[in-house]
Amino acid sequence: MTDIVFPAMSKDNAEAEGVVATWFVADGETVAAGQLVAEVAMDKVDMEVTAPVAGVIALASAEGDAVRQGEVIASIT
């Protein structure tokens, strides 16, 4: 299993919170390595998140949920 974590978008604050703005894939969908799976946002800056490996993705957070950077937002098995 490979976790996908909320990227470290803040250099100053390790505890900084952002949101998963958009999931481009559904829970349980099969994804390819490198596929765009989400867009995350922090302080009006957004960033793309891609799948590090191929497999079936399980989402661990909903769109709009506040998430601390480094926290797991999905996992791929």
């Binding site: 949101v19 703005a21 958009t22 481009f24 894939v25 969908e29 596929q35 765009l36 867009e39 995350v40 946002a41 009006k44 957004d46 769109e63 709009g64």
Partner: protein, 343 residues
């Protein structure tokens, strides 16, 4: 023009990413395609309409321009006349006032003035629409203004699928195309989310024929003819009214010039009732043109007087409550449909 319609797979994109994908694929296919405008490079477009293109294609094909719309749109027209295929962004359509001479006196007329000998294969992209308190000078749609002036095609996609197909078609078109993207359909993280701004988009290039409307929901009681973000509101309302036994047909025009009058007439021939939803100003614009398309053709086509849901003839207010009082909201669309159902 033959449009190839690939099957949509499961891959989803936002409207903004679908637009960028189309531009990127055309830049790869055709070296004469290039992008210019304010903040289209390092910033990626203030509404993410060009994100990543500078990194992929470099500063000779993705040009950040000064705040000088007449100069850089004029530059694009000159390049197009010489055989390039520029995609030039006017950051907000509201800014057309400072560069309209280039657009309607030059870009739109050169082909005619040259007796058809000179082509201007240019795409002018521009952000339109309100709903986020950006005030009277950053919230207009104005497609009716461009549509009124001859010589330009005018398109306004509502979905990621259409955004890609219309962009590909616009870049390949031999003449000038105004490509108007509503900020509310782009799927941006910092804007109000719209569920239909993320959708399935085929990875390969494809074209959507400019000038073809799309019946996005079939119905039998009333035709709701609309375009851009209002398509989504109309679909939400149609869903809700289906529960009350009112069957709405929703027609997404997708293109304002050419206007698919045949599709409008075909829908009204079926339903006999017409509501036009248009986020542009009410008078002298698209909504009147849609109604004229029907009644000029067959004055007996309508069982009830048509109703327009458009922005009343006032500048768009900044204050949130006042802005939503003038926008074509789902509540106003619902009221209009009830009115044509029970005149």
């Amino acid at each position: 023009m033959t449009a190839t319609m690939p099957q949509t797979g499961s891959r989803r994109l936002s409207t903004a990413k679908a637009m960028v994908e189309a531009i990127g694929q055309e830049m790869e296919r055709d070296e004469s395609v290039f992008v210019l405008g304010e903040d289209v490079g390092a910033y990626g477009g203030i509404f993410s309409s060009t994100t990543g293109l500078l990194d992929r294609f470099g500063p000779t094909r993705v040009l950040d321009t000064p705040i000088s719309e007449t100069a850089f749109i004029g530059l694009a027209i000159g390049a197009a006349v010489e055989g390039m295929r520029p995609v030039v962004e006017l950051m907000f359509v509201d800014f057309m006032g400072v560069c309209l001479d280039q657009i309607y006196n030059h870009m739109a007329k050169i082909h005619y003035e040259s007796g058809g000998n000179v082509s201007v294969p240019l795409v002018l992209t521009t952000a339109v629409g309100g709903g986020y308190s950006d005030g009277a000078q950053h919230s207009q749609c104005l497609w009716g203004t461009f549509a009124h002036l001859p010589g330009m095609k005018v398109v306004a996609p509502s979905t990621p699928y259409d955004a890609k197909g219309l962009m590909t078609a616009a870049i390949r078109d031999p003449g000038p195309v105004i490509y108007m993207f509503h900020k509310g359909v782009m799927g941006l993280a910092w804007m109000a989310k719209n569920q239909r701004s993320i959708g399935a988009v085929p990875e390969e290039p494809y074209e959507i024929e400019i000038g073809r409307a799309n019946v996005v929901r079939e119905g039998t009681d009333v035709s709701v003819v609309t375009v851009s973000l209002s398509v989504h509101h109309a679909l939400d309302v149609a869903e809700q009214l289906a529960g009350e036994g009112i069957s709405c047909e929703v027609v997404d025009l997708r293109s304002i010039v050419p206007l698919d009058r045949a599709a409008i007439r075909a829908s009204v021939a079926k339903t006999g009732r017409l509501v036009v939803v248009d986020e542009d100003y009410a008078s002298f614009g698209l909504s009147g043109e849609v109604i004229a398309s029907v009644v000029e053709h067959d004055p007996a086509a309508l069982k009830a007087a048509p109703v327009r849901v458009a922005v009343p003839d006032v500048p768009i207010p900044y204050a949130r409550e006042l802005e939503y009082a003038v926008l074509p909201t789902p509540a106003r669309i619902t009221e209009a449909i009830r009115e044509v159902m029970h005149p």
